[in-house]
Amino acid sequence: MPFPAPFQQYSLGEAYDEMFASVGEPRPHFQALFDRLRELPMAELRRRKQTADQTFLHQGITFTLAGRDEGMERIIPHDLLPRIITGEEWAVIESGLTQRIFALNEFLGDIYTDGHILNDKIVPRDIIFSCRHFRREMRGVQVPRGVYVTVVGTDLIRTPAGEFVVLEDNLRVPSGVSYMLTSRQVMKRAFPDLFQTCDVRPIDHYGQALLATLREQAPNNRSNPTVVLLSPGVYNAAYFEHSYLARQMGVQLVEGRDLAVHDNIVHMRTTGGLRRVDVIYRRIDDDFIDPLSFRPDSILGIPGLFNAYRTGNVTLANAIGSGVADDKALFAYVPRIIRYYTGMDPILENVETMLCSNKAERQHVLENLDKLVVKAVGESGGFGMLIGPHSSAREREEFRAMIEADPRNYVAQPTVSLSTAPCFVDGSGVEPRHVDLRPYILHGEKTTIVPGALTRVALRKGSLVVNSSQGGGSKDTWVLN
């Protein structure tokens, strides 16, 4: 049976397709969407797409393009069709991520105190101490309840065999959760009928869950703690998200200039005078958070904050120095880290990762630059990356030189064919595009993962790059009961 309208342009390749098991045969959990799309005329789909885009624009769910006219904002490209995950698939993801975050948190506590995992030679010392995000200032600092990472976004991809594997962890200031939440609101308006037939699990309680997790970590168990969200300010690309989350939680959205440290106590400046602050959900990188302790040229930070933190008068989420655990070179060791702290095998596998600092692996990487994806370890957002099969000879030579000059700074992974999901393409109908999956994990007393995620989609045909800074878009993700 061939693909019916509006799927005439659909094709199945080597990648796993989220919707179709074979040509014209949708997987059971996509059946309802399949049926609905066959009924809807193209004009109606286009109308819904326009309504959704308008909603994003009018709610200000936008980002500003760097260097362009300040007034011109773009919406994050959004695909109209949901990506659907079954309850069974989700259960595996949930338990795998819970295990992974537990282990990474233990790992951080260990390397900043006794360093057992280093003494036991499971992870080499030099990989820790050469990491740009390792903060020696954190040695011996007691963090409340031993929680280093509170909010994590982990990127998963689906292999051609249909297994979810981990591509990378984001333990510093992961963003995108607001797109998960707002795109759900928009989708409820675009496909109200489908929501009912599909039995989609709700995600609206993310704000409450985040607030509860943050409050738990107040210093010295202070009752009724004051939580604030610290943002770099309105010109930050993720400002919409900061403001949105502050509203969802009902907490103050502060900037560095709203806070002042006096006698190692953090205060915020209000119209009624100064108020003490207990927990800071910070969306500013370590480097910029305190000009007295870290980068002195930072104007976003709060002078004296780190001392107040070290004294135990204020909690920062995530902890300073947690970025060492999402270093791309350390990534290769995460399965070993999980076994070390849990005594169990990882539930979610890693994408295979080769370290250029290792001589044999480096040799292999340099011989296969045209087949591999090479990444600089400290970069994110799709920057500092070579995608071998799509690269030119000149780019490969540049990377060869950079790898040889600083092997510690590079890792390589096989070019993984991300799974494909159906996307609405105006003018042609529904076509497959490559997607990944970023669930958001809240870690505290217990681990909470709201049943949803940001599905990032490479909107250009055939492209494997899903980063929003590089032409990626987003999709709503439905986890079914």
Partner: protein, 315 residues
């Protein structure tokens, strides 16, 4: 929840910029429609008077032909209508989580509309439609604000921005009008109509004094009327009400300063007599109002926004 000083500041300026955009749109609309009737010659004096009444100084490149563009569309002019709406919206963006979604969405939409108009349309294309869009947009925002936001502290800062701006801009229009049209009890009064219209006051005036236009009554109405929302007296009353509603500062030295200044100004306007004011000099009287409004503005910032840390540490 306590309000951040920075948030109070942004709410104040958001509202003040939008009030300014609305006022400019009204003054410009009156000028534009009057242009259609005017015979050539008086033009140069007239547009300069408009610029003066808005408290602006035009660069030498501005002339009768492009003054409308400069006042409405030109974002190089930080006081143009589009620039004011942009500033209002930037301030709102800073405090998105403090205002209602309806307020933000409306202001953001208004911004996108005027910005698109200023980029794609020729200023001379449909001036009246554009200015109406701005006026309606500002009125609607005010209504949305009043009906969707808690009438708490933040709302009072919004009121303060709106009414301090209104007091200053109405007294400035009146000042320039009587500078350029010496009050006389007879003669042509279409300038008087224009003055009233630029404060949305023509119909309201007629209900009080009939359509008989006398300069003394016009100035009395715009300065001292208690009931008309665009009179200086009304605006100052609202400023005083809002200040009274704000939490009193712990710092006694400056705590009551803004309220005291507003009370004093209110008394001047409440007990002022128009013939006395005219005798002693309207210009001096209006300059004094302007100065006192500015003092209130400064005191407000000292008390709530830019206070020194040392004096405010909780004990």
């Amino acid at each position: 929840m306590d309000m951040l000083s920075r948030v109070a500041d942004s709410l104040y300026w958001m509202s003040r910029y939008l009030e300014r955009a609305e006022h400019m749109a009204r003054v410009l609309d009156v000028y534009v429609s009057e242009q259609l009737e005017e015979y050539s010659g008086a033009g140069d004096r007239r547009w300069r008077s408009v610029v003066d009444s808005l408290g602006l100084e035009a660069p030498s490149s501005v002339n009768e032909g492009n003054v409308g563009y400069w006042l409405a569309f030109d974002i190089a002019n930080r006081s143009s209508i589009v620039a004011c709406i942009m500033s209002a919206r930037d301030n709102a963006r800073n405090v998105r989580e403090q205002i209602s979604s309806e307020m933000w969405e409306h202001l953001n939409r208004l911004f996108h509309q005027v910005r698109a108009a200023s980029l794609t349309e020729d200023w001379s294309a449909d001036q009246h439609a554009f200015l109406t869009e701005v006026k309606d947009g500002a009125h609607l925002f005010q209504g949305i604000t009043d009906s969707t936001m808690n009438h708490g502290e933040g709302w009072h800062f919004i009121q303060l921005g709106r009414f301090i701006e209104r007091a200053v801009s109405v007294s400035s229009v009146v000042d320039v009008h009587f500078r350029d049209h010496m009050p006389a009890d007879d003669g042509e009064h279409h300038e008087g109509v224009d003055l009233l219209k630029s404060c949305t006051a023509f119909e309201a005036y007629c209900k009080v004094y009939t359509a008989e236009l006398k300069p003394l009554r016009i100035s009395e109405f715009l300065l001292l009327n208690h009931e008309f929302p665009h009179s200086v007296c009304f605006a100052v009353d609202q400023v005083e009400v809002a200040l009274r509603a704000l939490p009193q500062s712990a710092d006694r030295r400056i705590g009551g300063k803004a309220l005291r200044l507003a009370g004093k100004l209110k008394a001047t306007l409440t007990y002022g007599q128009i013939d006395e004011i005219m005798t002693t000099g309207l210009h001096a009287f209006l300059a004094e109002i302007d100065r006192q409004c500015n003092e209130i503005h400064v005191a407000l910032h000292q008390i709530y926004i830019e206070y020194p840390i040392e004096s405010a540490i909780e004990v």
